[in-house]
Symmetry: C2
């Protein structure tokens, strides 16, 4: 099978060149990637092995499995100790400074990979990869747009999936089922290996305020101590909100989308907070242009919340999240991060999810989340569907 | 919320003492755990933070999130730099030799954790944790048994889920849906962060022979280059086999179960290979007692395969896997490993999955996989259901 069958060569070149520019700034002579997300980014498909990018020269694909991949730059490998020899055969020198994914790869593997480059000084390449991937190519934006379109199709079907007396888990299972039938791949990619959430979350009523192990706006007690997050079996009842934030991976690139549903009208405070979330998204969408400070956008949201005296409920009630938005792409947690201490500056073609959410005790969670592209004149919304609270039929 | 609400204190003590015994052998004075699976093992629930186990003294639970956990040994923490101070307040000395999960935690985090213990010599604790977790407590065996019972209930329903003309993906989605409704948590835990497979795999006909990126017995091309494994949309047709190997995580502890289905009788070679798989499992089940060498059990399987001239098809056709069985528990890939170079010796209360499988080109994959407990007189099967090829109605 052709290694590069799935992604146009010019697209891969665009990405590799973006990485090379960042390598030059960091004075790295080569970087070696071995995590699925970065291999997918630089090869256009996942394989078990390594991608080596020299500062000067073509990217090399060193493949352990599957055993049938061929194509430009492809070579078979069994173990990391062969890397230097293979690169030498291809006429590539040993890098003086070598970048490895130090924030993603376990300590023992880093030690083994470092030993496979005996003359090289090892530095971090994770930050470079995060920076490269934060600015999407047009091709990548289209992958996210395709996911977002399907994501909206699923959410529009949710009122039909609902039946009176259902629990949060039962509704979530029907959403997952419908998503998978519509082409959702199921995989929910999170950079780093600490966050486990299966296919996303459905939070109903008081469970929205149960604190979770993760830096989410919302929590949920979950069904089991091994996975203490999200739906916990709460029955959906009148006056409660149902916040749906489930998996948008239809293309290998994820969209992130949250909408709120309810079986009957919810109280004034919840409606007011929900409207505040919509207004924050619209306000940020106008201001979030290339050059905008991510921290300033966070403060802008806080100012709107304070002007409406909703601070107590913003980004959680019993436990609060420390951000209102994040980059999204191959992983759900990419750059930039919209938090008070973020040093990120928005760039053209960042793709970000904004999620200014509120927890109203007993009622549940309200607010929206959309996925946007940063354009010259502000944000373009990829998750185009009603933002109001949606009635469950 | 009470930190220890979910698992009896005596069960946690049993596990901690097992770890402490291994720490003594390795001369470690303390180990610090931060991965979900090891936190779940030592605390009985997942949280964001650290478990510190001193060689001498009680386990300490340093919790970042959720913010409402209390109980014996629990303390709040914001960042790793506070660990030493918190331990000192509890009267615990700085460890001379500190164990960290070097095979599981990224390089930069290990560096940061090491710096938080300035006087300590850092060694690996991953191997100790793998060894401790390889021998299950009775409580853990019961968790796996409960998963296995549900797992079998799902597989027995598969003939009813099938409809003529279905693709592998369509059948898989119905299996996932039924599994979730029966209580499957969805999370498919794999130690290390390289293997991505969502909720398992359904392999039909020639797709069983498509090589995957992982060291599986079976492959599958998958639906997308971001997740090139498993079902690829192949329509289930007469003469093909349907191998189902999907998620058995119903309790936080996983069972591993494979059965083969077919819409119509399959050819002689496939039947012969399937019977060979059953015979291998039964033969190993008699011999796999405490003290047995994992590598010898692997060789035993190979001998049976050779005696029936089926080597060409065993553990893959175009690409072969290097093992026929593996430990299972919180993760799908635990110890012991049944491979030719394994140094593992079977111990009482190991829980292992045996999966001697075959790929017959064009027909598909055949063979079974069961989850067993190692008892004094051989293996006890936890996945108790017919082992024959099952007719899809």
């Amino acid at each position: 099978m052709e290694l590069h069958a799935f992604t146009p060569a010019e697209e891969i070149n665009l990405r590799i060149n973006r990485i090379k520019n960042l390598m030059t700034e960091a004075m790295l002579d080569g970087i070696l990637l071995s995590t699925n997300a970065n291999i997918y980014y630089t090869a256009g498909r996942v394989f078990d092995g390594f991608v080596y990018i020299p500062a000067d020269g073509d990217a090399q694909y060193l493949i352990r499995r599957p055993n049938d991949l061929t194509g430009q730059g492809a070579a078979k490998i069994r173990k990391p100790e062969q890397i230097m020899e293979i690169l030498a055969q291809k006429g590539l020198p040993s890098p003086h400074k070598l970048g490895l994914e130090l924030a993603l790869v376990d300590f023992l593997t880093v030690r083994r990979l470092s030993a496979a480059f005996p003359g090289s000084q090892v530095e971090d390449a994770s930050a470079i990869m995060r920076a490269a991937r934060a600015v999407k190519t047009d091709f990548e934006v289209e992958q996210i747009r395709r996911s977002a379109i399907k994501h909206c199709i699923i959410y529009k079907k949710i009122p039909k999936l609902y039946q009176e007396g259902m629990s949060d888990v039962e509704l979530q299972i029907e959403i997952e089922h419908t998503s998978r039938l519509e082409g959702c791949l199921g995989q929910f990619r999170v950079a780093g290996n600490s966050m486990e959430i299966h296919m996303g979350s459905v939070l109903v009523g008081p469970n929205a305020d149960a604190p979770s192990p993760y830096d989410f706006s919302m929590g949920g007690a979950g069904l089991d101590p091994s996975l203490p997050v999200g739906a916990d079996g709460t029955i959906i009842r009148p006056g409660m909100t149902v916040m749906v934030d489930t998996n948008g991976d239809f293309t290998g690139y994820m969209s992130d989308l949250t909408r709120v549903f309810t079986p009957e009208n919810v109280d004034e405070l919840a409606l007011k907070a929900h409207q505040c979330s919509i207004d924050i998204c619209h306000a940020i969408a106008r201001e979030a242009k290339p050059g905008a400070k991510a921290s300033a956008l966070y403060e802008m949201a806080q100012d709107i919340v304070k002007s409406r005296s909703l601070e107590r409920y913003f980004m959680g009630y019993s436990q609060k999240a420390g951000f209102i938005g994040h980059g999204v792409g191959i992983d759900i947690n990419e750059l930039p991060v919209l938090s008070p201490k973020s040093h990120d500056i928005l760039q053209l073609n960042n793709v970000i999810a904004l999620e200014p959410k509120f927890v109203i005790p007993e009622v549940g969670a309200v607010g929206i989340e959309n996925t946007y592209v940063v354009r010259a004149d502000g944000l373009e919304c990829l998750t185009d569907m009603t933002e109001d609270i949606i009635r469950l039929e």
